[in-house]
Symmetry: C2
Subunit: 512 residues, 2 copies
Amino acid sequence: MLMSLKEYEASFLEYVNKMLNIEEAIGVLYWDLRTGAPKNSFKQRSNVISQLSADVFKMSISDEMAHYLITMEEAVSAGKCSVEVEKTVNYLRKQYERNTKIPVEEFEAFVKCQAISESVWAEAKEENNFAKFEPYLTEIIGYKRKFVEYLGYTTCKYDTYLDEYEPGMTVQKLDEIFSAVRNKIVPLVKAISTSGKSFEKEEMKSFVSKQKQKEICELFLTTLGYNFDAGRLDPTAHPFATSLNLGDVRVTTKYHENNFEKALFSTIHECGHALYEQNISKDLECLPIAQGASLGIHESQSLLYEKVIGQSYEFWKCNFANLKEQLNGVLDNITLDEFYKVINNSKPSFIRIEADELTYPLHVMIRYEIEKDLLDGKIQVNELPSIWNKKMEEYLGIVPATDREGVLQDVHWSMGHFGYFPTYALGAMYAAQIKATMEKELPNYNELIETNDFQTVLDWLRVNIHQYGATKKPQEILKDVTGEELNVNYYIDYLETKYSSLYELEEVNKSI
Amino acid sequence: MLMSLKEYEASFLEYVNKMLNIEEAIGVLYWDLRTGAPKNSFKQRSNVISQLSADVFKMSISDEMAHYLITMEEAVSAGKCSVEVEKTVNYLRKQYERNTKIPVEEFEAFVKCQAISESVWAEAKEENNFAKFEPYLTEIIGYKRKFVEYLGYTTCKYDTYLDEYEPGMTVQKLDEIFSAVRNKIVPLVKAISTSGKSFEKEEMKSFVSKQKQKEICELFLTTLGYNFDAGRLDPTAHPFATSLNLGDVRVTTKYHENNFEKALFSTIHECGHALYEQNISKDLECLPIAQGASLGIHESQSLLYEKVIGQSYEFWKCNFANLKEQLNGVLDNITLDEFYKVINNSKPSFIRIEADELTYPLHVMIRYEIEKDLLDGKIQVNELPSIWNKKMEEYLGIVPATDREGVLQDVHWSMGHFGYFPTYALGAMYAAQIKATMEKELPNYNELIETNDFQTVLDWLRVNIHQYGATKKPQEILKDVTGEELNVNYYIDYLETKYSSLYELEEVNKSI
């Protein structure tokens, strides 16, 4: 049977499309589980998810896929494919290699271990009992140490895992970047602590009904350009955004009746993720590259909206009066200046996900350093609580009283997600660099923010970043958009300028 | 390779389980589409549903399935299987025969025609243009006439389709039943019309916020025994209940801000469907027979809760004060007696889904008679509007001014769902017969209703009906529960007693 290249490509794309359709179904099932599926549904629903996930996994490493890849790679080399097809082939090749290098039985054993480990972690955290979690984490790390040998590495084992979340990122680069950030931020955090200033306000803990908070969140989503014809907002336990298809990118939030600020900013954060996915080019529809370039670039968009824009003075100049009105009296005794300060209050704290913009990267660095050493076997699992506390003291000047507030707080390690944490910090750095470019290319940038002209901002991000999906690597995007690869000075400048001014820290200011 | 029967059965059940898992995913996708999936998601989501549906269909007619069925049927004949496995084999055999008898290409053409026909129907209804729909309906009926030849029939073609929704039901039985009902109900409806009485009340159209209506619906769901750990309530356009797995049976409703009554009773209706599925025996979990016995038996449960219980005087004796309080003034000028009358107001109307309990079966009969004649070729599609109006005049004494309010009102025919309508009326008849038995077996039945002791009612229904799922045929259930097959006199008595008393119709009363 002779098939033309066009026909062969169509058959390949149909195969890929079938995989994506199953992934879309899985996406809906997960969204549903996290937004109110009744608890008695979980056990059987997880069977459905396992079955569909196994189906997609098998398709990703099938003989059919192997043949498609070889033939399509030839076509790509001969210059016969569009750039979208080329990138799709590359994406699937990388997935194929990753999924075939680890022996199936070992991978299945790992997946089982992951599930148990995660639930033991939840119990151990609840009970503040690190010893309970220790053997499971040891097993997980055993797998990660073994798998990296299958997957291969050049200079540094950790690079292999880093690359899964942030293609092209390396330990060498990260060590340099984090060191620069640490040197500038640790003194800044100390200076703020020493200043004794706190911007906290009782009013921020006033009761606001969930229904009212929902309305406020919807209002801000609309203001920022979120398209409700291609998404929806729902309550959940741990806020997330999820892209099911290009016409269905959902956001979630959690309402705390005595902390409207949390729901508001977590919604704006997820909005940033969602705007990215809603604005990927329709040319990439039904291809696996119709997603963000990396976790780091994704996080740059969420943090750009949440922190850089959403917690800026300019943003609230335009929106504070409206928020006040919505909140119906709650903020009547707070001025715009006070509000700006309170939402940017910085203070060393134990829990990463509750940390402010300035202290946040220090939380990430602690995890990064521990992960590297664990993988290299330089430290062992039983040492983690003491190492954790030592680093907290060193970076943030505080020591958690319990492991629950310390080494047990995050779910990631229980699932073997090593190399994930750095992307949170990279996102903040990318965001600062992208913002600096926006200010140059949109000379009236501040004015746009002050007048809620978010269509212009979104258009710029769409044209420069969003539309490309995962056709470009993270550093490629950064280079194309900002003219240089990651330059951490933008981030350091951003933080120093903002927080020195907020806390009127003249000495630190001078040192910049 | 030798496999023991135990192993073979396990392999068969695993195969069946895989089909059900995919069906569960499809169920979640449909639920999602109908409860707020963003409109831009539809196009691509329908590809996902098509793919998964095709996968299940293929599994139902695969060579593997054919082998499983033959071997398992031998095992069943040899008395080596549990009753659950036996019923599963029977269920899948019936499905296999139905799915293989129609040539695949013709079936696919029909499915395509269905999709177009449904959307043309929606437009035609909107535009009140029967001529637009006529050629599509003609095509659909062409398929149904052809398919029945493939599927086979003994005396009556319509029996074949009836059996798909209500196993064991026949035209012979229905003709008899419907004729008896018609002879009693038509005079009753006329007597009510002649009496000139109307129980309508302006207050029932007062504004009640959707949020408040939701709270009221949740309250009644809980009162009736709906388990929120195994379900949830959401708004939708056309209310339905859906069983995703035995631990996840969801209900939906529609809130009209100036008609709280609609949402309330549609919720109680769906609650009846959901209670059935929530109380199927866990022994049937992961088997295709873990569902209601038939559409008719399902409808008997929804109507039992909505009409027989939910619109009874006893029910509101206990719940009216509470509803009044919830509605915060809206019903202050209405007494319990008035409320009971207003929710049972009976009046001939054009739209089936808005019809009251008494006139409802007449709407079904009109459709039943037309469907039979269409299938037999006794009437043609172009005659439908005039035939429809003639029958409306004859049965209900009114003639719709437009086809939109007449022959175009229902979606069923556009999708080729012939034989479906009768199950709505059968449900009401089963419900009356079941209620009569409950009154005998629970001597304090009225007291239970008057005191909101729904656990006792639900336990009775669970033990007698729910737990069996689809292991029994509809008439088998009825016989086992009530001691006789469908006896329409219970239904006629129920209606005559209730409505004669409501409208104080002495003459009709005497004639009983």
